[in-house]
Symmetry: C2
Subunit: 378 residues, 2 copies
């Protein structure tokens, strides 16, 4: 944990940052409904160059937000990808202009269930229209155009962020040069959908659910905490959990947990409900489950439109987004003669690996970004 | 599904059976408390021979019960191990006397949270003492002695049933000749504990929980259904779910599920609450999590007492009780020069595989049971 001295522009840190919000007139969703106005919360790190060709868009995962790097005033912990974004880091803010935004349907500043409906001055909550990954990317496109950027140097993300990157390559093939897809998939398997469905059912089963029209004082917190607890197990690897917890007893005696891993998960669940909205959890997991570029021949056809270079990264210990899903993407790209580098990393931390410090991951990202068009990375 | 014609003593079926209950004076638990009286619900299939040396005890898993084979009056579906128990089947009731009982702490006839407390004529519920796998086995030992059986021909089980079989070999080394341990472990890993803990938290979070003193009209059903839904995902393999559900839409529109796998899980959860008790779910999962014969050197030391032959079976697609856990058991047995056969089967169905029909599993069981002491199976 950084000290207060390290809060201020430490080596490798972008320092103190603020989330901004930009408003657009509207966005028409793939489902037909229109969000008006459209608000996108975002942060930027580094400087956009004169040619406006050094911008990298990073996309967050399920529980993420625009705050990808640096510190908010008073926070002890930095943004979710701070290990990789900053001066001299893999996403080097001395070279690139990093843009990070909150997905629409989220609950961290962009249009979503917590946005106030101008018609009745109440949050939309479950009256907000369902969104797709495609809608999220269309919202991001407005932000990129707002900066006057024609072609992004790269789009990068892990998990749901990787799906957004894939979607960018397909929906806006001429708007990005490089596409980085980590710990991700072209579509959710039945098992992935199953985990999300149980999480949603936990929220729906909460006595405070009230069809998603709960008050802030009586939120379906227990349901959301359960969803988070279960999700959290899927982000970790069996090996890491054994190392971290084994069969250790808990510190103290929280409720009826008998093992440290139980107390840890309860803590994860309880702290999550303070920073995330139950409706948003349902909206975003639905977008995740509905994302479908297909597999096999279907995916090959869809990816025939792409015009950028790819880096695809999978993690051996990731059993939630297993390497075979990354391999599917790579195979379809290769059939289309798209330049693609594929790496399966041995990081032991499971699905969360893409967020954690790793020298190997760091150099792979640096090398990919710094290699020219003429030279394929591997 | 068998038709009504097949209900009556079909080829390979033990036919219609009834669960019986035997009462003993008491059982003192490892934790110090005493259950008095002790009730054990059981079923038997086949005939005990004159020498009383052809008995096989089968042990059920978390959500199982005494009804391992055959049909209860009016039921369409047979007992949980009916594929393997019956005339001419692997556990051949023409040769062996199969005994199957409900674990104590369970809710299917043996002493547990649903048992009426003689002192106040109400079910014990959460006042019932916590039990261990050791206690379950000690309860079974009373049943075996009740039949006048000195040495069981075999003890067999999968998952929690495998833990009970292991416990038998260690607690009563001279009381069994063969030990069959399938899809099991010498102790739960942090990940296994984590899944059970979230299941317990789902029950504890249910508004009807009331410290486990809920009424039958207001049971913590939603919590128990959630626990079951989540557990059920862990019993299946990614591959099987893809084959069975893929990304198919649901039939009809149950609540807000958008995919068939979601409706399936909701159905699993809802049907479970009709046949299982929430307190029992907590008691049995706690026994599972606390079971600990250790690993490595510790396990080797514990297993130095065993005096029986072993068959250990693991399933490649079982990610809940992965093969490495079976390999740990086998390694410790081998160090102790205990005769052990180990097989890792390629059944694609995940942890549930041990319950499902498989020619390979069938012949492995038959061969192991029919081989003599002089010849080790492999």
């Amino acid at each position: 944990m950084p000290t207060s001295e390290q809060n201020e522009f430490s080596h490798g840190s972008v320092g103190v940052v603020h989330t901004k919000v930009v408003r657009f007139e509207s966005l028409t969703l793939e489902g037909g409904e229109t969000i008006t106005p459209l608000e996108i919360a975002y942060e930027t790190y580094g400087t956009l160059n004169e040619k406006k060709d050094n911008a990298i868009l990073v996309c967050h995962a399920l529980s993420g937000d625009a705050h990808a790097a640096g510190f908010h005033e008073g926070d002890k912990r930095p943004g979710w990808w701070d290990y990789y974004i900053g001066p001299g880091k893999a996403f080097d803010t001395n070279r690139y202009f990093i843009i990070s935004s909150n997905v629409i349907g989220g609950c961290k500043g962009s249009s979503g269930p917590l946005t106030i409906n101008g018609k009745n001055e109440k949050p939309f909550q479950s009256t907000f229209p369902f969104v797709s990954i495609g809608d999220m990317v269309n919202g991001q496109e407005k932000l990129i155009s707002f900066f006057g950027i024609h072609k992004l140097f790269a789009v990068a993300g892990g998990s749901m962020g990787g799906m957004q990157a894939l979607q960018w390559s397909v929906a806006y093939p001429d708007r990005l040069k490089n596409c980085i897809v980590m710990a991700s998939s072209s579509e959710h398997s039945a098992q992935q959908i199953a985990f999300n469905e149980v999480g949603r059912q936990a929220i729906l089963s909460d006595p405070n659910w009230n069809q998603g029209l709960y008050t802030q004082e009586n939120r379906p917190s227990k349901g959301l905490a359960l969803a988070r607890m279960m999700g959290h197990i899927t982000y970790l690897s069996d090996e890491m959990m054994r190392e971290k917890f084994g069969r250790k007893p808990p510190k103290g005696n929280i409720q009826s947990t008998d093992f440290a891993v139980g107390s840890y998960l309860i803590y994860q669940g309880e702290s999550f409900v303070d920073r995330f909205d139950a409706n948003s959890y349902i909206y975003v997991t639905k977008a995740l489950d509905h994302f479908s570029l297909g597999t096999g021949k279907e995916l090959t056809k869809v990816l025939s439109k792409v015009r950028c270079r790819f880096l695809v990264v999978a993690y051996t210990s990731d059993w939630l987004y297993p390497p075979y899903q990354s391999e599917e993407i790579v195979k379809s790209l290769e059939v289309n003669a798209v330049p693609v580098s594929f790496v399966e990393l041995n990081n032991p931390a499971g699905h969360d690996s893409f967020l954690l410090p790793s020298e190997q991951q760091d150099s792979i990202l640096r090398d990919f970004l710094s290699s020219t068009d003429e030279g394929v990375f591997l």
